[in-house]
Amino acid sequence: MAILVLIDRDATHSDPTKDARGCYKLGDIVAVHDDSRYTDGEPIAPPWYLIRITGVTKAQIERLIEPARDALDPQGLRVLRRRRWRLNPADLPSGARTTLQTTRFLSVTATQARNYIRDKLGLETL
């Protein structure tokens, strides 16, 4: 099992390049941890949402914290977005959405999570 750490807000910057490249946006996956890094019932402070995903390891989903890079960059390194993958709470079924927004915690299977983790580049589905 693994824990996704999501941020619940948009950061902004007046420089559009820094805003896109550097600022986290709501639903961005900030970190991925082993399940051992959270114990049920522990208080979760803003700006965090935590999602436990069963049936996967941290190593299997660690790529979810990669940035979105410019495929046209010759070296493939230019960062376009701080995070490529996000899970927008607004996309969740109403029951799950309410649980997440109320408790800041949700436990789902990998199959369930796969449907709602989106590639900002629109190139890949999990």
Binding site: I7, R21, V30, A31, H33, Y38, I65
Partner: protein
């Protein structure tokens, strides 16, 4: 000043306001969580104190902020949670595996007492720390003090500077897959100051100066596969190298020249072990800029070359500081 905490023993979901590992006010579980939670246009200094014996494997990119000379980011360890002058897996360290996970894009950031390692293979750009500010040298102030880059893999440098003004003080970069340091001006200028640093046992150069304005004093390079210094710094004094590429030729050895404590790969210890070392009392007085060595010991008298102050009587002297920062007793590390 606003202070937050990172502790790799903490659980995810804390607000970072204490270094506790449980409770609502627990520390952030990783560096990236601090950075995400706190990125903002700063109105005061943002300090983050990091600790934990488990590696912090998160990205340490710093981007999306607004910083200034008065309102900068300070990333540091306390002396108790800091390395002992060499790679220390019992103390806080950033060990990242992603491409460019160690890139800092902001203009006013300082690191004190942090260990860095880029672990992955199969691609370069796995440097321990890269300063890539948006501003020109005159509008940036970036610093790394008492920092270590170690064993960054697969043709990656330990430290890299792509612009701005950076002061590297009492730092060590060793055992990396490419150069210890690389400095490049990628278009807006790059000014680097190296004071009392060591570049050793790197697979390529010790210092690779591709471009930029370089000042180096009291630095040592040796044991590198490539040239210890790719070129002479524009302003330089009291530097030493094993291969004579710049400065005084001094052996990278435990039994001559530098008289380091240990130069065995994987076990290096760059503390000076013998009063015969050519690095003792061979430095330039930089007390107008800083006054301590990599372990926090006060430098006095004639300075040494390299990050360690040498104390006669054997071993290195470490100050153990009380809660108010004043030394409470002095102990010697006997090797």
């Amino acid at each position: 000043m606003q202070t937050r905490y990172v502790n790799t023993a903490s659980s995810a979901g804390g607000d970072g306001t204490t270094n506790a590992t449980s409770g609502a006010n627990r520390a952030y579980a990783s560096f990236s969580e601090w950075e995400a939670a706190r990125q903002a246009s700063l109105t005061e200094v943002e300090e983050v104190i990091c600790e934990g014996s488990a590696a912090d494997t998160s990205s340490h990119v710093i981007d999306g902020w607004t910083t200034s000379a008065a309102n900068y980011i300070l990333v540091r360890t306390t002396q108790a949670n800091r390395h002992n002058g060499r790679w220390d897996t019992t103390k806080y360290r950033l060990e990242t595996s992603g491409i460019q996970y160690g890139w800092v894009y902001e203009d006013y950031v300082r690191f004190e007492g942090i260990q860095f390692r880029g672990t992955s293979s199969g691609h370069w750009n796995k440097e321990g720390l890269v300063f890539n500010p948006g501003g020109a040298p005159g509008s940036t102030d970036l610093r790394a003090e008492a920092c270590i880059a170690y064993n960054c893999g697969d043709t990656s440098h330990g430290f890299r500077q792509l612009g701005g003004t950076v002061r590297w003080i009492n730092c060590i970069s060793y055992g990396n897959g490419a150069a210890g340091w690389r400095v490049q001006d990628v278009g807006s200028g790059a000014t680097a100051y190296f004071y009392n640093c060591i570049a050793a046992a790197n697979t390529d150069q010790g210092w690779l100066f591709s471009s930029g304005t370089i000042t180096a004093r009291n630095c040592y390079a040796g044991g590198n596969t490539g040239a210890d210094f790719s070129a002479a710094p524009g302003t330089a004094s009291n530097n030493h190298s094993e291969d004579g590429s710049h400065g005084t030729t001094t052996a990278y050895s435990t039994s001559s020249g530098a008289y380091f404590t240990n130069v065995t790969a994987g076990s290096q210890n760059f503390e000076i072990a013998n009063a015969s070392s050519a690095l003792i009392d061979a430095g330039y007085d930089l007390s107008g800029t800083f006054t301590v060595d990599i372990l926090g010991n006060t430098r006095s008298g004639t300075w040494e070359v390299g990050p360690f102050n040498y104390s006669s009587g054997g071993g290195a002297t470490v100050y153990n500081r009380g809660i108010f920062g004043a030394p409470i007793f002095r102990s010697r590390i006997l090797n």
